[in-house]
């Protein structure tokens, strides 16, 4: 049984609780254990690096140090948290002075980070550690004919280069096919959702969201799958505001990939936190041939 240290990140406590629930449920079902880090703190989001880089590294290092104690790889479901932790770990490994300074601060919490932690994004656990094949084997309610737009967003594949193709990765598609869905190919799958701009530069962000939704809808997506709470909020919660802003009438559900996997594994909506969406998974106002209803068999 695979086991990982799990860093949920602030937004998964409430704003994206359904991501948390579905992540827990699906991994459990697939025989992967996620142990939530003891007393983790905020990763600093992007904003921290705006103010004080060192402080930002320290915040991430604290979580890394806690994870290191467990001796497990640490998994983050939020792309921003993942990116922050990944690069903090990388830099601390590379730069002794930085590590020394940061560890000096960590002493206050009786912690020390010596760089022996691998940081993974939750989706990597499904794409690599579990793998599409195993996933396929476990599926009980394949999402037959469901047209799913995989939305990678930014910080899962970027900026690392040694990863698979940073421009046209395929692992998300593989996961979707594995659970019986139809991964739709749309040009903006790697584009940015606007991130925190939704607050600081609203119009810009709304435009970006608009373009993304448009691109997905143009390619007949019935639902957009995300792997990041920030993206989910921007793409879903702000849909109505996009509509107000641009006179569009988007109404396309935006689900966490774990929720979709959960459905395919026959986990109940409640356990997956389905029902907290702004745009419900219920049949969406689209031409009949693209309508996708919930699988019958789900409990």
């Amino acid at each position: 049984m695979k086991e990982f240290a799990y860093f949920p990140g602030c937004s998964l406590e409430k704003m994206a609780s359904s991501y948390h629930m579905s992540a827990m449920e699906t991994t459990k079902k697939l025989g992967v254990k996620l142990n939530e880090l003891d007393d983790w703190n905020c990763c600093g989001a992007t904003t921290y690096f705006y103010i004080d880089e060192l402080l930002a590294y320290t915040l991430c290092a604290r979580n890394l140090a806690i994870a290191e104690k467990t001796g497990l790889d640490v998994v983050a479901p939020c792309s921003a948290c993942y990116k922050n932790m990944f690069f903090t770990a990388a830099h601390l490994k590379k730069d002794e002075d930085l590590a020394e300074h940061v560890n000096f601060a960590l002493e206050e919490d009786n912690l020390h980070f010596s760089g022996n932690v691998n940081v993974k994004h939750l989706i990597e656990v499904f794409a690599q550690d579990i793998g599409p094949e195993e996933l396929k084997r476990q599926v009980t309610n394949p999402l037959e004919g469901m047209r799913i737009a995989p939305y990678y967003g930014c910080q899962i594949v970027r900026p690392q280069k040694e990863k698979e193709d940073v421009e046209q990765p395929q692992f998300f598609e593989e996961i979707i096919s594995a659970i019986g869905g139809i991964p739709i190919n749309y040009p903006l799958k790697m584009r940015c959702c606007g991130g925190s701009l939704i607050i600081s530069s609203r119009t810009a962000a709304l435009t970006m969201v608009r373009n993304l939704l448009q691109s997905a809808v143009d390619n007949q997506a019935a639902v957009i799958a995300t792997a990041c709470p920030m993206c989910q909020v921007n793409l879903e919660v702000y849909q109505q505001q996009v509509n107000l802003e641009f006179g569009t009438n988007f109404s396309i559900p935006v689900m966490y990939f774990t929720q979709l996997i959960g459905l395919a594994l026959g986990i109940s909506h409640k356990k997956l936190g389905i029902g907290k969406e702004f745009v419900s998974m219920a049949p969406t106002p689209m031409p009949v041939d693209q309508v996708w209803g919930l699988p019958r068999k789900t409990t």
Binding site: A16, N41, C42, Y50, E53, R158, V166, G195, V237
Partner: protein, 187 residues
């Protein structure tokens, strides 16, 4: 090495991961700007910012909104033919302008960031509601209403926390931060 540090060097020093002065190697090809999803909203495109820095035009750089528009999507970074980490550069510029507390009027970014940081220092966790005041009031009436609407709906869907989360070892945590920056600096 000249004894007087150029603006370019100042900025390069803020690029933690970088060695030397990467900006100097910019060939002004425009890949970054062409890639940037928000370049249209920036008064100077990322490429122009690099040019301005290399030119030593500190004022112009600090007055521009470019780096506050960066959503750190890293798309420019993975495409730059000179392997300049442009996103990190934008971070660096944000830090620089906050330290010098020099930024364009009416930008939400800086105030929001500071509010966010203060919040973390207090609780160790993020708590959306306290953030609102930092930006909400700068919104125009319509935006304001929309935000409130969105927020209430989130609340109803049980997606907004009512009480701020706190970490357990908050005291250690704050002392830890104290070793990095004097509390006064932020409180």
């Amino acid at each position: 090495m000249t004894d007087t540090i150029t603006f370019g060097q100042e900025i390069s020093n803020l690029l933690h991961a970088a060695e030397g002065e990467p900006l100097k190697t910019c060939i002004q090809c425009g890949t970054c700007s062409g890639t940037c999803p928000v370049a249209g909203y920036m008064d100077n495109s990322p490429r122009q910012i690099i040019a301005l820095i290399n030119l030593g035009k500190k004022e112009q750089v600090l007055e521009s909104n470019t780096f506050w528009y960066c959503a750190s999507c890293y798309h420019c970074t993975v495409r730059c033919p000179q392997e300049i980490n442009i996103t990190e550069l934008m971070y660096a510029l944000k830090r620089y302008s906050i330290w010098k507390s020099r930024y364009q009027e009416g930008l939400i970014g800086p105030t929001f960031s500071e509010a966010f940081v203060k919040m973390i220092v207090r609780s160790g966790r993020s708590f959306e509601p306290v953030l609102a005041p930092s930006y909400i009031f700068s919104f125009k009436a319509r935006e304001f209403m929309q935000e409130i609407q969105g927020a209430t709906e989130l609340l109803l869907k049980g997606r907004l926390p009512l009480l701020p989360a706190r970490i357990k070892r908050l005291e250690n945590f704050r002392r830890m931060i104290g070793r990095i920056i004097p509390m006064g600096g932020l409180e």
